[in-house]
């Protein structure tokens, strides 16, 4: 008699324990559902593929550099190093660039001129938005009113004046030069900028974007201030 009671209790307790732990599992680690549809997944896949090919091309460039070093190490390591320094300077914008590209002119809108409104300066937010838009379309070099944009360029409001690299930019009209890798890229950039909604944002501020025709050759000036190094340190000579 007593034995069957114990067995019954054991079975019931087994079920209770199982239910308790299942409940615990469910409450503690709620299952997060993947709610992406096939297009969202495809888009993410496309993004990853793009990243993959970008990384591959970067690897190729680096391998070329290694090859160059290996070839030149016996002859003249200085040339190879100078080559690399030049390449790095070109990449971050410390060198003049002569490449295909296009020029954008920021003008006061016709309406504001007719009405006779005071021409306001371009706001830093709007300029940042335009630069982001341009960079999204893979620009190689950008120059705003003669000031080259590099990785550390600051676009901000200083005492009510919009500045780029701590230098004030003129009231409209002024030019923005965009350099691209190829003429085809410049044409693509022209079409993308024409199609983008950035012009409407300028219109709100009584400004107008005039996007110039793509050109085969355009010179963009170098960044003329010193680049502050945060992490790199110069090694004393001879070491």
């Amino acid at each position: 008699m007593k034995r069957t009671v114990y067995i019954r209790f054991t079975i019931i307790l087994l079920i209770v324990g199982f239910m308790l732990s299942v409940q615990y599992n469910t409450v503690q680690n709620p299952e997060t559902r993947d709610t992406r549809d096939i297009w969202a997944i495809r888009q993410e896949l496309a993004k990853e593929t793009e990243l993959h090919s970008e990384l591959l091309s970067e690897v190729r460039v680096l391998e070329q550099t290694i090859g160059k070093y290996e070839n030149m190490v016996n002859e003249s390591p200085k040339i190879a190093l100078n080559d690399t320094v030049e390449q790095l300077e070109r990449e971050i914008g410390l060198d003049d660039v002569n490449s295909p590209g296009l020029m954008i002119t920021v003008e006061p809108s016709l309406e504001s001129m007719i009405v006779g409104q005071a021409i306001e300066e371009i706001s830093p937010d709007l300029l940042v938005r335009l630069i982001n838009e341009i960079n999204r379309f893979k620009a190689k070099a950008v120059e705003v009113d003669g000031k080259r944009i590099i990785y550390s360029s600051a676009i901000r409001d200083v005492n009510g004046k919009t500045t780029v690299n701590n230098l004030a930019i003129r009231h409209a009209p002024f030019n923005i030069k965009i350099g691209t890798s190829t003429y085809e890229d410049a044409k693509k950039m022209y079409n993308q900028l024409e199609a983008s909604a950035i012009g409407d944002d300028f219109y709100i501020d009584n400004l107008r974007l005039v996007i110039g025709e793509p050109q085969h050759s355009m010179s963009i000036s170098a960044y003329d201030q010193t680049v502050s190094k945060q992490f790199l340190q110069e090694v004393p000579g001879g070491e």
């Binding site: 069957t4 079920i15 732990s21 615990y24 709620p30």
Partner: protein
């Protein structure tokens, strides 16, 4: 005494190791079923201590209570009334009563043994 405890530990480890999860919408059903099971369990222990334990009542009560609680919760969901609260209330009150009775019986037994 150790056999039921072993069953409980076995059940918990089985559930934790298999890592079974139930969909969110059935969570309330399981919680109420757990409560019903605990209620029946303590009812059974009380009956055993009071020497009125019946196998059939215990086992049928276990499954019937769980089914009833789940059915009440189901009905509540479809009527838009939180009927599962009624079941939680009923089971909760009974759980406390059962545990109180078990405590008293054990205390009486303990004091009897001490006096003897």
């Amino acid at each position: 005494m150790w056999l039921p405890l072993l069953g409980l530990i076995l059940g918990i480890s089985l559930g934790l190791l298999t890592d079974i999860q139930i969909p969110k919408i059935y969570e309330s059903y399981l919680s109420i079923a757990v409560l019903a099971a605990l209620d029946t369990l303590f009812g059974g222990i009380r009956a055993q201590l009071q020497h009125v334990y019946d196998d059939k009542v215990f086992v049928s009560g276990f499954f019937f209570n769980i089914a009833l609680a789940a059915a009440l919760a189901f009905l509540g969901v479809h009527l838009g009334v939180d009927l599962y609260l009624a079941a939680i209330f009923a089971f909760g009150v009974r759980l406390f009563q059962n545990i109180a009775v078990i405590r008293r019986i054990l205390l009486t037994k303990w004091s009897e043994r001490k006096n003897a």
